[in-house]
């Protein structure tokens, strides 16, 4: 068995078990950390596919930014686990529908190829020496898929503005500081030197 195959199976095993752990573990912080582990393993599998740009960006964006904020929120919330457990039966039908749909979609892809052997899904040929994944991806994004790429950018921008607009509210009685004013402050505005004669001695 070549070493790449061993690596593939090890990381797949870790990824699948981490994925199962995400939904079975009781502690939500552990759940989030298992999701991080799953992301890591899938990044490693992408590296095996020579998709180093996607692998590193997965870690950079999902592990480095999204999951950090997730963890942040999960740690701050004092989640009571019992009501979460009660919802299990209630949401089970919806969950089953989603699971069946996803499985059906996967099966559809396999079915369209006829079978699940290596013949239907051949290993992609290795990239030539000096091939830059990043450059190839960039060229595709900014030529063939420019419109889709720009549209995605605009949608994200709208999402950012919407999120800010939804959470921004005027609060009464809040105190604000103007940093420009604070920086510009002069000594004379804050300190007053008073000339004082020494007091005459008290007592004896």
């Amino acid at each position: 068995m070549p070493i790449t195959e061993i690596v593939f199976y090890v990381f797949s095993l870790v990824m699948v078990s981490a994925g199962v752990a995400v939904i079975t573990v009781r502690n939500p912080v552990y759940s989030a950390l298992f999701l991080v582990l799953a992301f890591f393993s899938s990044a490693a599998i992408w590296l095996l596919l020579e998709a180093e740009f996607l692998a590193i960006v997965l870690i950079l964006v999902y592990v480095g930014a999204v999951m950090v904020l997730f963890l942040f929120v999960v740690m701050m919330l004092d989640i009571n686990l019992t009501p979460l457990k009660e919802g299990f039966i209630r949401y089970l039908p919806v969950g089953i529908v989603v699971a069946v749909l996803m499985a059906a979609e996967l099966l559809l892809v396999i079915w369209s190829k006829g079978s699940f052997d290596q013949g239907a899904f051949p290993i992609p040929p290795p990239n030539p020496v000096g091939f830059s994944n990043t450059k190839a991806l960039g060229e595709l994004l900014f030529t063939n898929y420019l419109l889709a790429f720009e549209a995605a950018g605009v949608i994200l921008l709208v999402a950012i503005i919407a999120a800010i607009a939804l959470t921004l509210r005027k609060r009464v009685g809040e105190k604000r500081q103007n940093p420009a004013m604070q920086v510009r402050v002069q000594r004379d505005e804050r300190v007053r030197l008073v000339k004082m004669d020494p007091e005459p001695r008290q007592g004896n």
């Binding site: 070493i3 912080v29 950390l33 991080v36 180093e52 740009f53 590193i56 960006v57 870690i59 950079l60 592990v63 480095g64 930014a65 950090v68 904020l69 963890l71 942040f72 740690m75 701050m76 830059s132 994944n133 990043t134 500081q177 940093p179």
Partner: protein, 345 residues
Amino acid sequence: MSETLWDQLIYIVILLLKIVAVVVPLILTVAYYTYMERKVIGYMQLRRGPNRIGPAGLFQPFADVLKLLLKEIVLPANANKFLFVLAPVLSLAPAFAAWVVIPFNDWMVIADIDAGLLYLLAMSSIGVYGLIIAGWASNSKYAFLGSIRSCAQMVSYEIAMGFALVGVLILSGSLNLTEIVLAQQGGLLDWFWLPLLPLFVVYIISGLAETNRAPFDVAEGESEIVAGFHVEYAGAAFAVFFLAEYANMILISALTAILFAGGWLSPFEGLWLVGDTFLGQGSIFWFLLKTVFFMYLFLWWRATYPRYRYDQIMRLGWKVFVPITMGWVLVAAVFSVFGLVVRGS
């Protein structure tokens, strides 16, 4: 089959030797960086700094390490034991792992990968996990406050840092660190610090904030939250956090040297008289000199500036640095398109 296995084994052994050759000097540098810090800040404050152990206090770092290792590791009663022990490791591993892509000169690099810069960004963004987990697992309010502060701070400054790197990418046209250095050839004025001056300043200040160093060290603000995220850690576990913090500082210094100050290239390249001597040649000597210079800046700033207020840190990151970097990325693009900055000239 045995032949290839043997080859693979030799390959792995050579790789491990290379890693040891980087990590051991790195740990020694961390040890003497703490000594340098205490000496430099000492003399800036008209004191002598450590001067008891060894000549001029030179063995002080070893005494410190020994003291830390001999101390008991205290596990707080209601701490999450597993995560509490895991956290220091999680903060140290990315700090060391990032060093594989650092080119010390034109051939001295462990992994000369194409997406080197992205890899570095990914590694520095993972570093925050150690801090968050440490704060949460300690089951202490001070530790948790410290970890929340540092987490928000690192996530915010990563954005400015990333944009500063985009400027470097535009001018060098590559994510590979060796090629980024080679794109700066031609002496002091051809390095990227000059065309990218605002980004250079933003990058180095974001680096300070990213490593939670003074004046951005609110994560461990002694006056408010005792010692922040590592308040519950003692002995060797604390030493690992310490090691990670200093390794990160050295990493940021080395990166600044590579991205903005020409890496191993000589500032006198092409000048008459010195251009042909050893001083005019690019070598690891120049790289180390530049790195030490930026390391010194970290200490200098610590001795000079008072700690920032937390809301002002956030304001600086989001409202000042992000717009500056976004604007200068456009300027860099103009430089690149109209050939005002030529690669490797």
